[in-house]
Symmetry: C2
Subunit: 86 residues, 2 copies
């Protein structure tokens, strides 16, 4: 496979693991119910996203960079809702 084709697989992956946080953020805002959500999971995930971002830049892996730039604010919304509503 060419690098462009490999990156295409990465972009599909990035679209899934990025856009997936939208329904969770919307649900948390709408229902104000975050009881079942683990703050450890969301917090550690947010820290991980920052490290993936650094890795993506260093490795010049644009699917990794773009994915994590978009996912970070969505995950931060979930964390904010979790802290607010418990």
């Amino acid at each position: 496979m060419t690098p462009a084709e490999i990156n295409l697989v990465g972009y599909i992956a990035a679209a899934c693991t990025t856009l997936c946080w939208l329904p969770q953020a919307v649900r948390a805002i709408r229902t104000r119910d975050t009881a079942a959500i683990s703050l450890w999971t969301q917090g550690l995930f947010a820290i991980g996203i920052v490290f993936w971002l650094i890795y993506g830049v260093l490795a010049a892996s644009w699917p990794v960079v773009i994915s994590n730039v978009v996912a970070l604010p969505l995950v931060l919304v979930v964390i904010a809702m979790k802290i607010r509503y418990g």
Copy 2:
């Protein structure tokens, strides 16, 4: 930075976004409460993990591969609990 140093950043990222799913899976199993969790988020995330796995293999990015191999079963546990307890 050397490729080894770049990969180290990737492994830290991978450890965070992989191990983070453990407290969510444990919480779902213990409390049987998954009401606040979005099935769309978890389902799309699981599909994304599979694509990241393929990307990681094709791009020979081992932090990506290992991270997603470990994360997949943990996310599947959360999905199974969500389907079971709603």
